[in-house]
């Protein structure tokens, strides 16, 4: 494969930088220890000491790899220490939120395209909704929903939907409006109704836009769920794992959870990409 070389080069460069960073950032702790013991240390002594600290400022790559191996492969998925278990908790809320967000986004976009009042009124609110820090809103959503008896998956999913609907609205408004004047005139010559124009022209024409929005939306949905897990005392999920890691200074645990979150986001985007390829090929829009 032609791309293996460059990909490997970048990977090695990142690892090298990471190791250098780990040495640099963890060295202070080694020096402090030595000073307390009344010793002086040379760089030759410092470097190995920075590689295997139990609470490093920046864990070395192999530490994160070991932690990942333990938490993903060795620990059974039913255990509360398994990252598979936490990832599933987060993923299930993400998928629900993503579905709600995507559905709401498409409906809103359809409304915006077909109704002048909605066109004028909804977009500013949608944009405003995204300028509010989600970290500030998330606890309120959880508390309000809790007080009316909704707990567990749904509040997190709603926060996740809150973040993921926006890229879908923006993309789909653009997609629904992508047919040019000639295409719309053509339907007019058939005296087609607005419904027919929507189903036969606007919706299929918006497909490439839909998938672009979905990719952004999926990543946003995952961030939403994790943020929903952070300030709420959640006991499970990657967000809870990040939080407990930071409480106890378990940086290795934090980094492992971050990697699982990144892998989850990448997985979602890859799945959407596959659905996109199959769909567009079926539609004859992929050559």
């Amino acid at each position: 494969m032609k791309s293996t070389g460059p990909v490997l080069t970048v990977l090695i460069a990142i690892l090298a930088l990471w190791y250098a960073g780990a040495v640099w950032m963890n060295a202070q702790w080694v020096r402090d220890q030595a000073e307390r013991a009344g010793q002086t240390v040379t760089w030759q002594q410092i470097v190995p000491e920075t590689m295997n600290q139990s609470r490093p400022v920046l864990p070395a790559p192999h530490q994160v790899a070991v932690e990942l191996w333990k938490a993903v492969v060795v620990t059974p998925p039913t255990s509360k220490r398994s990252l598979i278990y936490h990832a599933w908790v987060t993923l299930s809320a993400t998928l629900l939120g993503f579905a709600i967000g995507t559905g709401a986004g498409i409906l809103l976009a359809a409304g915006i395209v077909h109704n002048r009042a909605m066109d004028m009124s909804v977009m500013p609110w949608a944009i405003a909704s995204q300028t509010i820090p989600i970290l500030a809103v998330a606890p309120m959503i959880i508390v309000v929903l809790n007080s009316i008896g909704i707990t567990g998956l749904v509040p997190k999913a709603i926060i996740s939907a809150y973040l993921s609907f926006f890229p879908v609205v923006v993309g789909m408004v653009k997609g629904f409006r992508s047919p040019d004047a000639m295409q719309l005139d053509l339907l007019k010559t058939y005296s087609a109704s607005r419904m027919q124009a929507f189903w036969k022209l606007r919706l299929p024409a918006s497909m490439p836009y839909l998938f672009a929005s979905l990719k952004v939306g999926a990543a946003a949905a995952l961030v939403g769920t994790i943020v929903g897990e952070l300030p709420t005392g959640a006991v499970a999920g990657l967000g809870a794992r990040l939080l407990s890691g930071s409480y106890y200074g378990q940086t290795v645990q934090i980094w492992a959870a971050l990697f699982v979150a990144a892998a989850l986001a990448a997985g979602l985007v890859v799945v959407i990409g596959m659905v996109q390829r199959v769909t567009l090929r079926r539609m004859g829009m992929l050559r």
């Binding site: 000639m182 053509l186 010559t189 058939y190």
Partner: protein, 259 residues
């Protein structure tokens, strides 16, 4: 016989930010059933606007315009015409057959009827066997033929064509012109055809409408003496040259005071 299109003192003014633009002024024209009428003139002469007015895509602001004795709007709802645009405008997500079916689906034809009609019109434009292809698999000329098939699919009596071959090269254009004439002969449709090309207009038409801009108006209407059967070679005959000359004169006259 009642005229297919009857325009009496038709004017059309667009209100723009820079003030009113007179796209059409005092247009009088009668198109009879079976006519092949070309509209020729420089950009901005209103030829496309007039075609769009017939199709009820624009509304005249003055005068009266009837299509099959009805308002253009009513005529459109009665499926009086098929419209072919400058670009083929096929849906990339539909096959050629699917594209031709589009108006039939919208108009609510039965599935069996749809298939039969697609078969028939694809044969008419010599695209038999291409139904399952996607638009990008066809050349520009074939795509435009498919778009003509789409306009013919629901059997409107009038075919309105807005520079349908303008984006094609001359060789393809000649072929399509020949085929269009054949199609017109076989179906007896009334055709309104907008073009920039003098030879194209003279070759195709029974009636040539010469227009000029600012304001868009008709400067000459030429009834062609050429026979309905027209081989390509007819373009070298003196009769053809004479009509082409008159069209050119008409275009020049329309321009004389603003060049």
């Amino acid at each position: 016989m009642a005229p297919v299109v009857e325009a009496r003192g038709v004017g059309l003014t667009f209100q723009t930010a820079d003030g009113p633009v007179h796209a059409l002024k005092d247009v009088n024209l009668t198109i009879a059933k079976g006519d092949f009428v070309s509209f020729i003139g420089p950009s901005g002469c209103g030829k496309t606007t007039f075609l769009r007015a017939i199709a009820a895509l624009e509304a005249p602001t003055e005068g009266s315009l009837t299509v099959n004795g009805m308002t253009p709007d009513a005529a459109r709802r009665a499926r009086a015409y098929g419209y072919v645009f400058q670009a083929a405008g096929l849906y990339p997500w539909r096959t050629i057959a699917g594209n031709v079916k589009l108006p039939l689906e919208i108009m609510g034809f039965s599935k069996a009827e749809q298939n039969a009609r697609v078969e028939k019109v694809l044969e008419l434009v010599e695209l038999t066997g291409f139904g399952k292809k996607f638009p990008w698999q066809l050349s520009g000329g074939m795509q435009q033929r498919a778009s003509i098939a789409r306009a013919l699919a629901f059997d409107a009596d009038i075919l309105l064509m807005d520079e349908p071959f303008g984006a094609l090269d001359e060789i393809v254009r000649d072929r399509l012109n020949e085929e269009l004439l054949k199609l017109w002969n076989n179906t007896g449709k009334t055709i309104g055809f907008v073009t920039h090309s003098i030879p194209e207009a003279v070759y195709l038409s029974t009636k040539i409408v010469v227009m000029s801009p600012r304001p868009g108006r008709i400067t000459d209407v030429i009834e062609s003496p050429l026979p309905r059967e027209r081989p390509l070679e007819i373009r070298d005959t003196p009769a053809f040259m004479a009509i082409a000359h008159r069209v050119r004169e008409g275009l020049r006259a329309g321009h004389s005071y603003d060049v």
